[in-house]
Symmetry: C2
Subunit: 140 residues, 2 copies
């Protein structure tokens, strides 16, 4: 039983010219299913039975970062958070919202911030990310 997600993951790896391994497929599937940036721990948690060493998870995320399949979201917590780059443009990722009360982070995928592209005082901007803080619907 090779699911839809499974195929999608394999396809993604293939087009990125990455070795298609069980670990990578598993990590990608976890990220496909997620609706928010995940840490290594959260990914490992999702995998459950299908366990891979945390070093492998980190190395997988690093490969996926390098080919641009995932990117890093900046979250208030200490650990790095990763998510698929899929529904972000080349130059801009959807904003993230961190609640100052409950601490949870949400993706504001339907929100577009105006882009600052090009140059500013000699800085060539390739990509921008926005972070919000405030109160989430549950805490407001």
């Amino acid at each position: 039983m090779r699911s839809d997600l499974d195929l999608k993951a394999r396809q993604t790896l293939k087009s990125a010219k990455l070795y298609c391994t069980a670990g990578r497929v598993a990590v990608l599937k976890a990220l496909f299913k997620a609706d928010k940036p995940l840490t290594q721990e959260e990914i490992t948690g999702q995998l459950g039975q299908n366990h891979f060493d945390k070093v492998t998870i980190y190395r997988t995320l690093e490969s996926l970062l390098k080919v641009g399949v995932v990117h890093q979201a900046f979250v208030k917590n200490r650990a790095r958070h990763f998510e698929l780059s899929h529904n972000c443009s080349e130059t801009q990722c959807h904003p993230h919202f961190t609640c100052t009360s409950c601490g949870k982070t949400h993706c504001l995928t339907d929100m577009r911030m105006p882009k600052a592209q090009g140059r500013h005082r000699g800085f060539i901007i390739h990509r921008q990310q926005t972070r919000f803080e405030g109160l989430c619907p549950a805490c407001a």
Copy 2:
């Protein structure tokens, strides 16, 4: 010899109703002098002779965060970065730029991003921060 900066730091602590201690004054002075967000290590480095335990620095930064004198900037590196909140509005901090080539982070203090305030799908936005990636003048 009690310098200008020294007085400014003491004044800041006083208005924040924080105990005015040597460590806090030293940390504040380092932040006043800095033109970019600093880590605990960088602050300790600045202090040189005038040494304080890293635990003290972290606890000082925590106090300064709580009263809003400093805030945290989100930088690509692993360590937390702090800077004065001074020339940021209540709701928005100036953007930060991280160079993908040399890795350095710069404050774009003269750049204003349009504010997304109020509510979005039930999220009450209090503050926003923008991060850019690209090439700095030195690397372009």
